[in-house]
């Protein structure tokens, strides 16, 4: 086992990895940029190495500097967290070449799975269902009509050179096809200078369901059940839960088998996630493999009782998996809400700034993984994730209730966060019913505004704070000293004169 590891990341995930390392008796090395001199991960580690300027290229994406930091501190292995270099096969390869250990899958496996076409081919060979579609573009309307018939309507007309939804058309029946092809082709030509198109099966409001995989170097692969991650904004997950309300025992078994088959087909080692789209008929299709620890991994930890980072480190150290599939159990229901520094009222605009107050909720079944503290300045240079609030309870209804309490009690002031938005989603009828899909927010919360009906309580707080001198709310910081020397009665007298 390693005696020291370097964590090549920042924020909540770096802190989370260091916690497990400490419990395993492994010393930790943090790396950081100028902007993160006082970041929580730096304060948490046993040693910290400054990488350089705040821009990611000079710091968290700089392979040379990170490798050097590992060598200088004598770290034997590097945990990449998620994001930054976590899915960069060049980084993984370099670490191995330098005689260090990358805590993640082998570089070649990562490279194969990172390439969409290669990944699709690997999965198709192993009978893992992939989204049906044409493999090459086609201009002849007759051949396109035949292809559409084979795929089955609805189909999606897509631009080969595409991106951003341009040149994309949903076709519900054969009589709409010719028009859609013509329009998509001309739109694609205008947008990309290339009018070639192809067809793919269209999935109407699918769910995003993924399976957690653990694989050791000796060919043992287990799954740790699914995570439902359908509630997304701008294609980014914001609420995740397990179990998925959509899976029957039979469907779960088939999807898990496909996920294990996918991991085996790819020669996967370490922790990974096989993502699927699940349509309304119960058909599921391979989306991609995430070759890293996922942001939402804690809900799997809460329901299986397993520490995924511990198993990542043990697998990287060459140890076999200490349990078989039959020994993996799951209990209760877990939900995670991502807490970003962003404004849900302004199209989720980033909201960097100073954390003025942070007081995470307490009580049974609550876990808050975060990278902040009161007084910390959230830098503008990186991803806006502040933390993740995770709850566990015996069933979904209780977990929703617990999440509502945890969100209400987790005080976070100074930057905008989506807490109120998340509260409204979890309290909503369609969420309670488990009727969620990847277009859930567009469908139900596109016009969301905060409910202001209790704003008079906030007003009351301001006034009483001002009157009772809990803290002189209107005084500037420089005046606080003098204000505290007066008794509240003196101040009150002065206020009464004004009133």
């Amino acid at each position: 086992m390693f005696s020291k590891i370097l964590v090549a990341n920042r924020g909540e995930i770096a802190v989370r990895v260091m916690r497990t390392a400490r419990e395993m008796g492994i010393a930790t090395v943090a790396v950081y940029s100028e902007a993160d001199r006082e970041a929580l991960h730096v304060l948490t580690a046993d040693e910290a190495v400054l990488l350089g300027e705040s821009d990611p290229a000079s710091s968290y994406l700089n392979i040379d500097k990170i490798v050097q930091a590992a060598k200088d501190t004598g770290a034997q292995a590097i945990h990449p967290g998620y994001g930054f270099l976590a899915e960069n096969p060049v980084f993984a390869k370099r670490i191995t070449e330098e005689g260090l250990v990358f805590i993640g899958p082998p570089a070649d496996v990562m490279a194969n799975l990172g390439d969409k076409t290669t990944a699709r081919t690997i999965m198709a060979r192993s009978d893992v269902p992939i989204i049906p579609g044409m493999t090459a573009s086609e201009a002849d309307p007759d051949r396109l009509a035949v292809a559409a018939g084979t795929l089955g309507y609805p189909v999606l007309v897509k631009a080969a050179a595409g991106g951003g939804g341009k040149g994309m058309r949903i076709v519900w029946s054969e009589d709409e096809l010719a028009d859609a092809i013509a329009m998509a082709a001309s739109e694609a030509l205008a947008a990309f200078g290339d009018g070639s198109i192809y067809l793919e099966k269209y999935l109407d409001r699918p769910r995003h369901v993924e399976f957690q995989i653990l694989a050791d170097r000796y060919g043992n692969v287990v799954h740790l059940f699914e995570r439902e991650c359908s509630v997304q904004r701008r294609h980014q997950k914001i609420i995740e839960e397990t179990p998925s309300p959509a899976l029957t025992v039979d469907l779960r078994q088939r999807m898990a088998a496909a996920a294990v088959a996918a991991a085996k087909a790819a020669g996967y080692v370490n922790a990974g996630t096989v993502e699927f789209l699940l349509d309304r008929t119960g058909a599921f299709y391979f989306l991609e493999v995430n070759t890293r620890l996922q942001v939402e991994h804690p809900i799997t930890e809460m329901t299986t009782g397993l520490d995924l980072v511990k198993h990542q480190i043990e697998i990287a150290a060459g140890e076999p998996l200490p349990f078989t599939q039959e020994q993996v159990f799951r209990r209760g229901h877990a939900i995670e809400c991502r807490i970003y520094a962003e404004d849900p009222e302004a199209n989720f605009m980033p909201s960097p700034g100073k954390i003025l107050l942070f007081r995470p909720a307490e009580g049974p079944g609550i876990r808050y993984d975060h990278g902040i503290y009161r007084g910390f300045d959230v830098p503008v240079n990186y991803d806006p994730i502040l933390g993740k609030l995770i709850v566990w309870a015996e069933d979904r209804t209780s977990a929703c209730a617990r999440m509502i309490r945890a969100l209400q009690e987790s005080v976070l002031l100074g930057v905008k966060t989506p807490v109120e938005f998340l509260l409204d989603i979890i309290s909503s009828e369609p969420f309670r019913a488990g009727d969620i899909h990847t277009r859930f927010i567009e469908e139900h919360f596109a016009q969301w505004k905060p409910d202001t009906s209790t704003d008079d309580v906030a007003a009351l707080g301001f006034v009483l704070n001002d009157l009772a001198g809990v803290r002189p709310a209107l005084a500037s910081q420089a005046d606080i000293g003098t204000a505290e020397q007066q008794s509240p009665w003196q101040r009150l007298g002065a206020l009464d004169l004004l009133g």
Partner: protein
């Protein structure tokens, strides 16, 4: 004592009586009068009893106002009569100016002094927390000044591009 408080776009008016020995007072809002008792649990936490209902609030003073947390709702509360009216501070005070909505880094500057621009034309691209935002011309006119450069760290209220407004009638406002 009367308070006029600004919360978001709304203004709340409260009439507050004298705080007595039990730290209670009468508060009138919307024509309704209620008895309120306050207890400071810590410098950040306040417990209010309104008639018989209990509320735990968390407060944090900031420049120009106070953040108040109540049951998962964060509200920025300002004394409506003493909100500073500094020119060019924040979005509300500077409508129609080319300023970033959040602290950001300048990625691209798309215009130069003397350029004719039309309303809605992209002027500057900034990046904040991995998200790119395009700042566009609030009205048509001529670029009078470019006050930033690629790589600059900029904040709300900083006018990045100044535009001499074109003669009236050319805008479609």
């Amino acid at each position: 004592m009367n308070y006029r408080l600004k919360i978001g776009q709304d203004v709340v008016t409260l009439e507050v009586g004298r705080l007595d020995e039990t730290r209670s007072c009468q508060v009138t809002t919307g024509g309704e009068s209620r008895s309120v008792t306050v207890k400071a649990v810590s410098p950040d936490q306040m417990h209010l009893t309104v008639d018989r209902q209990c509320f735990n609030l968390f407060l944090s003073p900031a420049e120009d106002g106070t953040w108040v947390w109540f049951n998962g709702k964060a509200r920025f509360v300002q004394d409506a009569d003493s909100i500073p009216r500094r020119k060019g501070r924040g979005l509300d005070d500077a409508p129609g100016e080319v300023t970033p909505p959040t602290p950001a880094t300048v990625m691209r500057v798309l215009v130069e002094v003397g350029n004719e621009v039309t309303k809605g034309q992209a002027l500057v691209v900034v990046s904040a927390m991995k998200m790119e935002l395009t700042l566009s011309a609030p009205y048509s006119g001529t670029v009078a000044a470019v006050n930033t450069e690629v790589g600059a760290k900029v904040s709300p209220g900083e006018i990045l591009v100044e535009i001499d407004r074109a003669a009236e009638g050319t805008d479609d406002e």
